[in-house]
């Protein structure tokens, strides 16, 4: 079975632009979470979606938004990009909404802001 897939793998943007990152969860998984990981730090929680509803939100500005589609894939959108948004963006899926179960991560999208 395919694991969590994310696209694109790398992306270069300039300040002020917006970006859309995509994630396809493992087949059968209905929960998708997004994380931001800057160099030398652990992943930081941005959003969780379960059954197309937002279930959790981390401490990120409103420039960050996400949605989940009927096939459980998800998009993360970031507007008005700042240099500080440069990071690895990770998507994780699991079968249920509870984080007390293994999270399956993709290999992320490396976003660089110039």
């Amino acid at each position: 079975d395919a694991g969590v897939t994310q696209s694109p793998t790398h992306l270069i943007k300039t300040r002020g632009q917006h970006v859309t990152l995509r994630c396809s969860p493992i087949s059968g998984h209905k929960s998708v979470s997004w994380y931001q990981q800057v160099l030398g730090q652990g992943p930081q929680f941005i959003f969780q979606y379960y059954e197309k509803e937002e279930r959790g939100r981390g401490n990120f500005p409103d420039r960050f938004s996400a949605r989940q589609f009927p096939n459980y894939s998800s998009e993360l959108n970031v507007n008005a990009l700042l240099l500080g948004d440069s990071a690895l963006y990770l998507c994780a899926s699991s079968s249920g909404p509870d984080f007390g179960q293994p999270q399956h991560f993709g290999d992320g999208t490396r976003l660089s802001i110039l």
């Binding site: 992943p43 984080f99 007390g100």
Partner: protein, 111 residues
């Protein structure tokens, strides 16, 4: 605020020895704690989950302990191998319905 602390410096050990990684947390009472492995340029890979009512969990050469009094989890890799070299992340979770990751500990196993 909730704080997760892992060994900030890299851990260097000889092949065959036991590696012990520490995860301490403050201002938090997690219902469970997860450990992940992350290789450079890759996403984290789940290793073990231990719940607050469990003292110890084992999987092959891996062992995790969870001391809710000390607010600490220890992660052990026995008979370590160079292939175990990676960054190891701890992530307590529970009440806030999200995982909070530590900064990770870089483990280097020398042949």
């Amino acid at each position: 605020s909730q704080k997760i602390e892992q060994n900030s410096e890299a851990l260097n050990i000889q092949e065959g020895k036991t590696a012990t990684l520490t995860c301490n947390y403050t201002n938090y009472s997690p219902a469970y704690l997860q450990w992940y492995r992350q290789d450079p340029g890759r996403g984290p890979v789940f290793l073990l989950l231990i719940r607050e009512n469990e003292k110890e969990k084992r999987k092959e050469r891996l062992k995790v302990t969870f001391d809710t009094t000390l607010k600490q989890s220890l992660f052990h890799i026995t008979a370590s191998q160079p292939a175990d070299s990676a960054t190891y992340l701890c992530a307590p979770g529970g009440a806030t319905n999200k995982l909070i990751f530590g900064t990770g500990t870089l483990l280097a196993v020398q042949p």
